[in-house]
Symmetry: C3
Subunit: 337 residues, 3 copies
């Protein structure tokens, strides 16, 4: 591809030779002739001067830092994402053939002729697969599941009865959507299972990470809005609702019936207790536990800082007497003239 064509296709301003040949994208450090690199994090600015890329994607304010051709955009990371997509394998190439002979498609499933179905996939009766979907190897699309147009199930995805995906949803291997919620009623010293009769509805443009689990609702559905992004090993319990454009990092979890607003960022390993409500634009830092409703946008945290174990031990044991310490201080303030 020519550099000028790339700039035109993604709508980025080019300052440099449009006839340069481009073969791919690379980091500032590893890029050589034929590569486009990018600077999106100031930490790597010093790598610009030695960078061997044919062109670099830059914020206008950084233009002077790089001698060679520049693709200039006020959001260089988003511009990079659009350019890198030109060099990524197309989803249609994920599978070798439209429908692998080993796939099982039950007679009354509806599979659009443009959809692709991989080896050992199982599409159960009543399932509907819209146009341009790619259902990879070992994917299990159970009864009555609906996939909107352009969904991609990479491989080994489990979508249980009645789950609905919007358009262009991407699901990674090992994800399980529509498993039973953890509903248990205590009954004479034993547990009685509470049937989980709802399902899961996922909006357009969502991405669900590897080995992530999303439980079906107990009665109503578990719901993810449009453009929700879940990393690997995220756990979403029954009847949770997640607003549009919210992203949850790896190993985070939301307990039953909690509602997360739109445009939230949930850090890795963070947890949200059940039945809580978080408003829009809330950020939870990694491994924090949300134990009460959040009604104001902003960043929230819990936990203690990492420390050398010997120091930590001394301080941690004091934590177990912190209330007494505070009472002592209060008394001292009274006693001190």
């Amino acid at each position: 591809m020519k550099l000028g064509d790339i700039a035109a296709r993604v709508g980025v301003m080019l300052d440099g030779d449009p006839d340069l040949d481009i073969v791919g994208v690379a980091t500032l450090k590893s890029a050589t002739v034929g590569h486009i690199a990018f600077l999106a994090n100031g930490k790597y600015r010093r790598e610009l001067s030695d960078c061997g890329a044919s062109a670099v994607i830059l914020h206008p304010a950084e233009r002077a830092q790089f001698r060679g051709a520049a693709l200039i955009d006020s959001h260089p990371y988003a511009a990079y994402a659009r350019i890198a997509a030109l060099f990524a394998p197309a989803d249609r190439d994920l599978l070798a053939a439209p429908v692998h002979p080993s796939a099982l498609i039950e007679p009354d499933a509806e599979v659009d002729p443009s959809a692709q179905i991989g080896a050992f996939a199982l599409i159960a009766r009543g399932a509907r697969i819209a146009a341009d979907c790619v259902v990879g190897p070992y994917c299990h699309v159970a009864r009555g599941v609906t996939l909107g147009a352009g969904c991609v199930l990479i491989a080994r995805v489990t979508l249980l009865d009645g789950v609905t995906l919007g358009a262009r949803v991407r699901v990674h291997p090992g994800a399980v959507i529509g498993s039973d919620g953890f509903g248990l009623a205590p009954d004479a010293g034993r547990w009685r299972k509470v049937p989980q009769l709802g399902s899961v509805r996922i909006g357009d443009d969502c991405e669900i990470g590897a080995n992530t689990t999303i439980d079906r609702g107990a009665l109503d559905d578990t719901v993810l809005g449009d453009d929700v992004r879940l990393d690997n090993q995220v756990q979403i319990a029954h009847n949770v609702r997640i607003g549009a454009h919210t992203a949850m990092a790896g190993c985070s979890a939301v307990a039953g019936s909690a509602t997360i607003g739109a445009h939230c960022l949930i850090g890795g390993g963070a947890g949200v207790l059940g039945h809580l409500t978080l408003c829009d634009h809330v950020t939870i830092t990694a491994m924090s536990l949300v134990t009460h409703d959040i009604r104001e946008p902003g960043e929230y945290s819990s936990g203690t800082p990492l420390d050398r174990n010997l120091n930590w031990r001394k301080n941690a044991v004091r934590f177990t007497h912190l209330d007494q310490l505070a009472r002592t201080v209060k008394q001292l303030t009274r006693d001190t003239p």
Copy 2:
């Protein structure tokens, strides 16, 4: 179904017209004519007055709050669980046929004629599947595995060599039972794998969540008692023993050789270190870490409260000097007359 028949079948007292037609269960908020709703959490009491359900399951003390027919029980949530079960699809309907033609059953596996085996399932030699089991699609039942009567493996369950399930155990997709424990011996600056020669024994009426992992024992077995309930993404290490009726919420984990008592509740994301013992009736709150034996029933916690990040930072940095602060206060109490 008639309301009166439902009340009779589950043994709940009916105050209302037994001839009402019932088509399903619903929440107080979404129920309309033909639905049974329930009130189990006082938080939702105000929804009773507007509820359009044909009948509501209630504690006797709440009877006056609802005009319509009432199913009255001192444990309304357990009563609801029994009633909802009448409207849940039967396990026998999970699969379309007794044995799917794509399933592989090795010749010397014993599968009861009443059992059902799904597409792409693999039942290895020496495995024994008792009456009324449902083994869903993609389930891998390895050599010498034993399933008691009425077990349900929803789909894509992995039971490795020699694992034993009691009666009526339910396992959700992606669960792996019998994987190797994490046994490593340091040996001249490298790790040497310690063979994991035990297996896993699971009691009756247990439920194992999606993508949960339970490791086999190093020499003796890993053991779950009857009616143990594990949510999604729980991790049980080798040689752990969990007492009957204990429930563990999503993403909780127990390290090697720990023993958890009966009737314990382990909160979401909580952890128990290795070789510890917890007595019966212990509750661990979400994301707490158990670092010592627990010998008395009750509720235990660790961690700090969620706070706005700016406040949290100021407090958290003080935590790293808490021991010094306590020493200073001690000195002040000496110095203050």
Copy 3:
């Protein structure tokens, strides 16, 4: 097997009758005649006197504690690991046949004739499986994946395009290696996916636990050194690098572009934030969060001790005013003569 032969094969000193017949290994508590037991943890020393084993593996200093035959080694746990391996089923016995008829091997995949391929396995074009590999049931070896000699994929392992394993790597069920990293660029209020164009390279002698996930790099690869050991449900984000001989316990996680040194120990449920660097020989205790670079070897922790919930609540609420408490104490020290 004769005791003397065992001692000779694993290079451990025998003090006792070399002609004793040995049928297996067992714990000190459960061992009977024909078993070899071991003492590696002083906690179990008192079990030596009653132990019914034919022989016990012991540190030289413990020799006097056991009447019977002893296998003496200064690293008894490593010696036990070598001896137990003699009684473990051989990897070659994991599968019934060299290549199961239900396995799909695409024409231009290279599978060494000595390799074994299980039921419902899928080996895609361009994949290369070296000598003596065992690829268990349901394993998905995608395009261009390379397995070094002697790798064992137990079952249901997903290796996505271009992933490379060294020699003798062992991967447990449900593990996903090579899933997309969580790369998202904010773009006009929405998320834009950043293509993940790198892959994953894993060194020799690594072990990857059940349901563990390792993401492919965004541009460069995600890299695990030799002899890295990951327990179950570990999450490794894109572009992480982990040094040789590092072990990570269950449910631990490393965020994007972090670099972990060699010989590190990451405790269960611990987390490492993105873009950090940990030097060699660092130990992180369970459920701690690493929020800054670590430049000195040693043990590091965060969190607070477990306490009865009532005590914990009182102390925890004080944490939210800890900065104010510290300021008050500082003022008091000024005011106190």
